[in-house]
């Protein structure tokens, strides 16, 4: 009894339990057929967006650098992973092939993250954001112009296509892996170092933290998970084109991170589910989706970051008895 109470106090444990319960319900519904087709079709994209948002949160929320090329990382993992999967399609069963391809896709994306992260040696803030944007666009351009990836016509992934039922276990594993790794990083010594860099880079440097090392590590880890998600995601389509994974998609992931709360793993998970489900429910309002995203981005930033609204925020948080601690997102140090 006491243990259970203690467990409930642990926010991470609660998140993991809730997530596991949610997936258990979804899996039961899916495999027993108590589910609509529309919902079936949303499970895999939702899971992928959870992975993308949580991994982007590592860069944006923990490290405090804006990455506008997250979809590009995903793209790298998707195409390398799927190309490998296609070549192994009749040699290995899905159970061995998919994890391998996700690993390879993740590693390739990680290498790419390393390449993009290198400018982090010299750049910060807006410039770094623009470099990630540029790299995302360059990747898109290169993949579209290559023959091996199917070029403009897209990669024909029909040989490796798998439905939601086949992919769900892998998606669940990836989601849990991502969430647990992020939670662990947040609590660890490295995580505190990363957040120290975010809050005050110069101070962090002065106490001997290797800023470059941490920045690069963050970029690589985030890219790895995005790439692994990409490799899995490719199996869910019969044809994938690089142009799908453009700047707009990166922004969509960013919206999830911002809405869920920068630095909050749990927030990213919830926001990913909500932002994936709402457009489906309100299919007929497709045109308004991006408009609402835009308003959400602006309002979320103004409400949580405006120095002018600081007194209001303080007032609100002092109402929360005994819970005045500042977590992620709010107050990102001084400019």
């Amino acid at each position: 009894m006491g243990r259970a109470k203690e467990l409930l106090k642990n926010k991470n444990a609660v998140t993991l339990i809730a997530l596991a319960a949610a997936y258990a319900v979804v899996a039961w519904m899916l495999y027993s057929g108590h589910i609509t087709r529309q919902f079936t079709n949303m499970i895999i994209p939702m899971s992928m967006y959870i992975v993308l948002a949580v991994s982007l949160n590592l860069v944006v929320g923990f490290l405090g650098e804006l990455n506008l090329g997250h979809a590009g990382f995903m793209s790298v993992g998707l195409f390398t992973g799927c190309l490998l999967s296609i070549s192994l399609a009749d040699k290995l069963p899905l159970i061995a092939r998919l994890p391998l391809c996700m690993l390879v896709g993740g590693i390739c994306a990680g290498l790419f993250g390393f390449a993009v992260g290198m400018p982090a040696l010299r750049l910060k803030g807006d410039y770094l954001a623009i470099v990630t944007l540029a790299c995302g666009e360059i990747v898109k351009n290169i993949i579209t112009n290559l023959n091996v990836t199917g070029g403009a016509r897209g990669l024909n992934t029909q040989p490796i296509y798998s439905g939601a039922k086949a992919l769900l276990p892998y998606a669940v594993v990836l989601v849990f892996l991502t969430v647990i790794v992020m939670m662990h990083i947040k609590k660890s010594k490295q995580g505190r170092a990363i957040m120290a860099i975010r809050d005050n880079r110069i101070a962090a440097e002065s106490i001997g933290l290797n800023v470059t090392y941490y920045k690069l590590t963050v970029f690589i880890i985030a890219a790895f998970f995005a790439g692994a998600a990409g490799a899995l995601y490719g199996h869910y389509f019969a044809n994938v084109k690089a142009v799908t994974f453009d700047y707009n998609m990166s922004i969509e992931i960013l919206v999830i991170v911002v809405l869920g709360g920068m630095g909050s793993v749990r927030g990213s998970v919830i926001a990913a589910v909500v932002l994936q489900a709402l457009p489906e429910i309100f299919r007929d309002f497709g045109d308004y989706r991006m408009l609402i995203y835009a308003v959400v981005l602006i309002l979320a930033m103004l409400l949580t970051n405006s120095p002018r609204l600081a007194p209001l925020r303080q007032k609100l948080s002092s109402v929360r008895l005994g819970k005045a601690k500042e977590t992620g997102g709010e107050n990102h140090g001084t400019a």
Binding site: H34, T36, Y161, A238, N239, G261, G267, V274, L278
Partner: protein, 387 residues
């Protein structure tokens, strides 16, 4: 507090979202059991909003005309039909979700998707469903491979490009051509490749190939310079109407009056795109199986019905494809005697149908072959070329 409220709202939204998605099981109507009152539900998917909305809207409107006509004439085997057309914005992920939504709605037959990319993934997702898919306009070559119940109304790109080359040879237009195509778009590259093949077969020489991409489709100066230098009588432009309008606007007055711009079905709607100055589209030749001024009685009846229904708008090829698709589905269902996908797919192979886009027969790979004509535009009106 703020964060707590936010997460509460989010969590509430999530619960709502999940229940709304997962909650409503496809309800079988009470009066559906005896089979007399139940309608046959047909689903369609395509871009109704976004950059390519005109194509999806055309298909939808054409299909609606056919549905109206069929219902007025007593439906299919006494059953009325009902069409639901879902917006995908041309995006594959959204199209798959829309396909799921249509199944939940009770769709028995599918018109597939308007675009190739979305059709490919929906075909794969529908592999295990007993549903026939008939795309009105998805022309990319391999998209139907994963599903043996998938067919198309339009030409496939691999055939259309060759046919364009044949047409040039047949009408003896020229034996030296140039090409401008969009290198990051499947439709455009697919057509270009098959056109190249067709040119080799017909001894037509391609002297210049120029490309552009989605993000460079606003400025054609360098391409126009190179095309001018090539000095040809025909430029093949297998691109969509929107970039074509930009290209033609920038090219206006630079090429001679005897230079043709030859495009395919994607050019449909070019006149609306250059509505501010329709002479921009002068000398544009468009290959199509459907021409609104074709004197064929069936075509004229369709054009008249379409104009009456949509404020005098003239149907384009996509509308005609949508119209034909519904009639083909009707014929296949009548032949098969049921709406079972497998039975209808089998019936498709035995059908020969004359629609407004010509006479069609299908092969097991889902493709069809039919004749094409070319329309030439002059001062805002299109007429059959060579007449």
């Amino acid at each position: 507090m703020m964060k707590k409220m936010m997460s509460l709202i989010l969590a509430a939204a999530m619960v709502f979202a999940l229940t709304a998605c997962g909650g409503d099981k496809p309800a079988s109507t009470a009066d559906g059991t005896d089979g007399t009152k139940e309608t046959i539900k047909i689903g369609g998917i395509g871009p109704l909003t976004g950059d390519y909305a005109n194509y999806g809207i055309s298909v939808k409107q054409g299909a609606e005309i056919a549905v109206k006509e069929i219902n007025a004439a007593g439906g299919i085997a006494g059953q009325q039909i009902e069409l639901s057309f879902q917006d995908s914005q041309g995006d594959a992920e959204s199209a798959v979700n829309a396909y799921g939504k249509l199944l939940d709605w009770g769709m028995k037959i599918s018109m597939g998707c308007v675009f190739s990319g979305e059709m490919a993934t929906v075909c794969a997702a529908a592999k295990d469903d007993d549903i026939m898919l008939l795309t009105p306009s998805g022309s990319s070559d391999n998209i139907l491979d994963s599903n043996d119940k998938a067919f198309r109304v339009c030409f496939n790109d691999g055939y259309q490009g060759v046919m364009a080359a044949n047409y040039i040879k047949e009408k003896n237009i020229t034996d030296k051509v140039a090409v401008l195509y969009q290198s990051d778009y499947d439709y455009s590259t697919g057509l270009y490749e098959s056109f190249k093949k067709g040119c080799e077969e017909n001894g037509i020489e391609i002297v210049e190939v120029q490309t552009f991409t989605e993000s460079t489709k606003t400025d054609f100066t360098t391409q126009i310079n190179k095309l001018l230098a090539a000095d040809v009588k025909l430029i093949f432009i297998p691109i969509y109407a929107e970039p074509a309008s930009t290209f033609l606007t920038q090219a206006k007055g630079k090429f001679g009056d005897d230079v043709y711009f030859f495009g395919a079905d994607g050019l449909d709607g070019i006149l609306e795109k250059v509505a501010q100055d329709v002479t921009i589209a002068n000398n544009v030749l468009m290959m199509t199986p459907f021409a609104a001024d074709n004197s064929d009685a069936k075509v004229q009846a369709f054009v008249k019905a379409y104009q009456e229904a949509y404020n005098g708008a003239t149907p384009d090829q996509f509308a005609a494809d949508g119209y034909d698709a519904v009639y083909i589905l009707k014929a296949a269902m009548e032949k098969a005697g049921s709406s079972s996908g497998a039975a209808m797919a089998k019936a498709m192979l035995e059908l020969e149908i004359t629609g407004v886009t010509g006479t069609m027969k299908w092969t097991a790979d889902g493709n069809t072959q039919k004749n094409a004509m070319a329309i030439i535009y002059k001062d805002g009106t299109g007429s059959l070329f060579g007449q």
